[in-house]
Each structure stands twice: as C-alpha cells, then as structure tokens.
Amino acid sequence: MISGNLNTIGYGLSAIGPGIGVGIVFAAFINGVARQPEARGQLQGIAFIGFALSEALAILGLVLAFALGA
C-alpha cells in the first residue's frame, strides 16, 4: 500500500523540462568556453542567468506541489 500525494508526481513531471533546459544552457556555455576560453567571464554571467530562468519553472513546480497540497 502506498500513501502520499499526487502533487509529488506532478513535481517530478514539472522538473523534466527545466532539467533539459539547464542541460542545454550549460552545454552551450561549455561549448563557448572551449571555442573561446578568453570569453569565459562574459559567458559565465549569461549562462547563470539562463540557468536561473529555466530553473524558475522547476522551483514554481516545487512550491506549487506544497502550496496546493491538501
């Protein structure tokens, strides 16, 4: 017998998209640094902003999973 809340599964599903997005952001960052190591400083800021924006979706999912819990 399993007890629990379906919200948890919903959160797991909502984390798939941001997971892929964060992976793409950092793949592009690593690619960029490998091609042009001196641009690392500039790229780092952009990479973290892209990371933060895609991660926001997963965080909203986490918060809603708890906020809507009965």
Binding site: I2, Q42, G45, I49, F51, A52, I59, L60, G69
Partner: protein
Amino acid sequence: MTTTATAPAPGFESPGVEDFQLPPVFGTVTKPVLELVLAAIIIVAFFLVAVRKPALVPGKTQFLGEAFHGIVRNSIARDMIGGREFLKYVPFLTALFAFILVNNLFGIIPIIQFPTFAHPGVPYALAGLVYVVFTYAGIRKHGFGGYIRLSTWPPDVPWWVRIILTPIEFLSNLILRPVTLSLRLFGNMFAGHLLLLLFTLGGEYMLFEAGDWQLKVLSPFAFLMAIVFTFFEAFVQVIQAYIFVMLTASYIGTVLADDH
C-alpha cells in the same frame, strides 16, 4: 493495488512543511529572526574590521573584504549594469550578496543549521526591496511613462505581434520579476533543507526505531548521503546568493538601458 483504508501503519514519518514552523525562542521571536539579526551583526563587524586600518599592502581581513567587494564590482555590477552608472549600485549589491550568503550558509553551520530563506516571508521582503530599487532607478532615469514604455513597448515590432507581446512583457517585467526572484531563493533553500532533513531523520529512524537488522546495516549510508549533500548544499547556497545578486544587477541594467 488495494487502497482499503486501514489504520496508518507505524512507520517512518517523512519530513514536511511542518518541520519549518519552528517554535518561538522567546515571545514571538523565532529562530529565523534571530539569524537575520546575527547575520547583520556578523557582516557589519566583518567589514568594520576589514576597513579599520586600511593599508597599502592589505592584511588578511582587509584582503578578504576587498576581494569580496571586487568580485561584486567587476564580475557582477560592471558586466551587468555597465557604463558609468554601475559604481552607484556596488554598495547595495555587495551588502545584498553578503547578507544572502551568510544567511544561506547558516543552513550548514552546526548548531544553527537552518537557512533563513527557507522561510518564504524573508525572501519576499528582500525581493520587494530589490523591486523598489530597480523601479525607482528606472523611473528616475526615464520618467514614469518612459519606464513603462521601456518595459512593455519593445521597438520595431509589428502591431499584430504587439497584441500578444505587450501583455507578456508587462507581466514578466513588471509583475513576475520579484516573484520568481524570491521563489527561486526560497525554493532552493527549502528543498535543500528538506533533503538534509530526510537523510538524517531517515538514517536515525533506520538505526534506532526500525526493527530489522538489515535497516540498521544500511543506515550509515543514509548518514553518508547526508554528509555528501551537505557539501552539495554549500555549493548551491553560494550559487544561489550569486544568482540573486546577478539577476538584481541585470534588472537594474535593463531598466537603465537606453534602448534595447
């Protein structure tokens, strides 16, 4: 799978939201409030010591303070805000970075072990402050109408795209910015603390309260995972403080931009 309602089996109670509602220490003052005050005291004391006797060849504390300030000035403020205006915002960003960093690191410092921003009210207040700062900066630079136009009226867009784009820009630039800013910090700290709670409480349950000897054998691995994730949390806490300040600087940079 049968879902007949039986009496709940005695077993492991997983940690949840109620573990974050700490009892007040005295009066109505709770642990996060004390941590906020402690963080402010630590930061003020550190920077006072760092600049007390400024020397041309800095000592250790002065060097640490200057390096901290230098990181915020060179790799956050200058890159994100740019121009000649960025220097004005460096003190605010440095204070913000130090405050969030110390409060986050409280999550893994023994005895304290509670990240202040795992309580949703605290990051809301901080994001509200950031919202006021960048809205004020934008209105002072462009005037009220100019600021609204800059935020919602991107130039050179066909009218039929504008019908969709302007509401989206309005929502994302003027309303959702502080919401995501605070929820990101809160969510990361909340999830990290919950993860550590789960591994330590689970390990404790397996060692002392579960009857099976197999679980007793496995419980050290739960504690091992707790230690590993403590280091991971240290990383996440520094990164989140950095991202918060980075996004704040980027918002200030966007509202100060002449055209984009």
